[in-house]
Amino acid sequence: MQDLLDRIVGLFASIQKIPVEQVDPKADIFETYGVNSIRAVKLLSTLEVELDIEFPEEEMREIRTLEDVRDLSRRLLASQDPVTKSA
């Protein structure tokens, strides 16, 4: 699942317009990178489209780090029907 985290980090870096190397997946994205609500929604919406998943609203509110995003995405992908997932 390192690939998934890499994708998330890469996407986050492009949204924040910072080099990938500067992104710490364990850091609080709001406090460390000053992410505003627009960038947060943009990150999650893009991931939803890219991964074909839907983040539940309550769980979106709990996200603080990119690892949180990765964990939630992984859970949602795993819960999808394998036939749908491969389609």
Partner: protein, 557 residues
């Protein structure tokens, strides 16, 4: 820059449906925000509530004034939106409101995946939000949209703007399910944007930099547009979009003159202020076709310049006496509001006998002076969910009211108006009748012409109440409406055969809906997709049936 037709392909769209499914994009009942009547003006009226199917005017105005081939999508589903994107467009324009921001971001993400070559622009009042540059879209229209889009498409930006012919239907909300109840068709006229009154709270004024941006510049152009609607679509009733229509004296004086010279029996609804209305003898406006006016009363103690001039009580009384129906709107949560004086505001509003009302929460929209002031007073509530940003939202801390309290009080205010005055439609009827009684013996032929229009409206709507008074909210309202119906019978005679038949159709529809409501609960009015292609920058409305099997009576006159 080239004056040659660009023939680019442009997709203009609203945000996606559904609106009625509570989820991360929608709050409970969010579909009602699409409808002026059932969410605002007649939200409390039960089976007598009204409904309209307003088009997204800005998209048609844009499509009508660019050379590119344009497709308009209104309220697509996500699947419909995705399918349209796959057809390949040069430019995608999305219009949105603040509360729809999360949907906008999702639509942008989809467009980037499905059609990465398509350049994205966004517009609408939602663009007053902060930090939108973080969306990395190709363009953000934060001014008058036609010149913005022309510039974006490399077209000549300042060629004349042509107003498209656009209509909508007003009907009983129930008539969406029961089209036999008929509807009233109205033409839409966009006269201008922005407002120089620059009230502290006004998002529109802030959005246009406290300036008025005229769209139709002369009284002749305005009148000629009405003539075009009449000639091409047979429409003689209009809603005019302009924040304070009567403020622009030169245009209005000429418009009034044209109505006097040409004498066409047009009727128009508009928005205006006590300030501007105080500058005219009301009879002149009535003769020009004024049939409904929305006045921002705001408060019995309104501190705003727009509220200066005649006394608001006297003005509403005179409007009612001339058969001009009204919308009176007030704001809850002004600085001086307390629990006791807020109810006095509702009582004052009811005393004006407005035909419809709007009671909203004080909103500090982005860019407004109010927002700056409240920010400095540390009174903006942080972390408000954008999808819950609307007329009734709690976004400002008020020392007299707890969180959510004002919203509840606003809904109590709506209920108070309903219980005190009855449904909005009955107030329309009573006001038309009051005007009919006042004007029917006038020696002025133009006022008698207005009387004839009022008579037709009364005769159309009377039957709706003939057999349904049992459904009115209380004995007091029932007695008043029955007395009004009796007086109408005295002056206009008993219902004729067509009216009697229609009264029975209405009674049956109300009875069936009452039973259905008990079984199934409220009907959800989720809009359908409207897809329109505009070629060569020329929108013509498709032939439309007159709102189902249009009866000769009902909301049709």
């Amino acid at each position: 820059m080239s004056g040659e037709p660009s023939r680019k392909k442009v997709l203009l769209t609203t945000i996606f449906r559904p609106f009625s499914v509570p989820d991360k994009y929608n709050t409970e009942g969010a579909e009602r925000f699409l409808d002026y009547f059932s969410n605002r003006l007649t939200r409390e009226s039960g089976l007598f509530s009204l409904h309209d199917n307003h088009p997204t005017v800005a998209l048609y105005v844009l499509a009508n004034n660019i050379e590119a081939h344009t497709t308009i999508l209104e309220t697509p589903s996500l699947e419909e939106y995705k399918a349209e994107l796959e057809k390949g467009y040069d430019v995608l324009g999305i219009t949105f409101l603040t509360l729809h921001f999360p949907k906008l971001v999702h639509m942008i993400a989809l467009a980037r995946k499905i059609a990465p070559q398509t350049r994205i622009v966004i517009g609408g009042f939602g663009t007053a939000l902060y930090d939108l540059e973080d969306l990395d879209v190709a363009g953000i229209s934060q001014k008058e949209g036609v010149s913005f889009l022309r510039e974006f498409l490399d077209e000549v930006p300042d060629r004349p703007i042509e107003h498209p012919l656009l209509t909508f239907d007003v009907r009983l909300r129930l008539a969406v399910q029961a089209p036999q109840l008929g509807a009233k068709r109205c033409g839409i006229i966009v006269n201008g944007f922005g407002c120089p009154h620059a009230c502290e709270f006004c998002s529109t004024s802030a959005y246009f930099g406290k300036r008025h941006v005229p769209f139709i510049t002369t009284g002749d152009d305005l009148y000629d547009l009405m003539v075009r609607y009449d000639r091409e679509l047979g429409v003689r009733d209009f809603i005019i979009y302009e924040e304070d229509f009567f403020l622009y004296r030169k245009q209005i004086d000429r418009f009034i003159e044209r109505t006097r010279i040409d004498g066409a029996p047009f009727s128009y609804a508009c928005y205006s202020t006590i300030f501007a209305l105080s500058k005219y003898p009301l009879e002149e406006l009535v003769k020009s076709g004024l049939s409904h006016v929305w006045i921002g009363v705001e408060s019995e103690q309104s501190p705003f310049r727009k509220s200066t001039g005649r006394s608001v009580e006297e003005l509403f009384a005179e409007l009612n006496a001339h058969g001009v129906t009204t919308t009176g709107s007030i704001i809850a949560g002004l600085d001086f509001h307390k629990k006791d004086n807020l109810h006095q505001e509702f009582e004052h509003l009811a005393s004006l006998f407005p035909s419809t009302v709007q009671i909203s929460n004080l909103i500090a929209g982005p860019g407004t002076p109010l927002r700056a002031r409240l920010e400095s007073e540390n009174r903006l509530i942080e972390g408000v969910d954008l999808k819950d940003s609307h007329l009734y939202s709690d976004t400002i801390a008020h020392p007299e009211f707890g969180r959510g309290e004002l919203r509840e009080l606003i809904f109590e205010g709506y209920e108070y108006i309903y219980q005190t005055l009855g449904p909005g439609l009955s107030r329309f009827l009573r006001t038309w009748f009051q005007g009919f009684e006042t004007l029917r013996d006038s020696e002025d032929p133009r006022l008698r012409q207005r009387t004839e229009i009022l008579r037709r409206r009364i005769q159309g709507v009377r039957p709706i109440f003939a057999r349904t008074t049992g459904l009115l909210p209380n004995d007091g309202v029932r007695a008043e409406i029955r007395a009004a119906l009796d007086r109408m019978e005295e002056l206009l005679g008993p219902l004729d055969a067509a009216q009697t038949a229609y009264a029975e159709v209405v009674r049956q529809a109300f009875e069936e809906e009452t039973a259905r409501l008990e079984r199934e609960g409220p009907h959800v009015y989720e809009p359908n997709l409207r897809r329109t292609e505009v070629r060569d920058g020329l929108f013509r409305p498709p032939p439309q049936p007159a709102s189902g099997a249009s009866p000769v009576v009902g909301l049709t006159a």
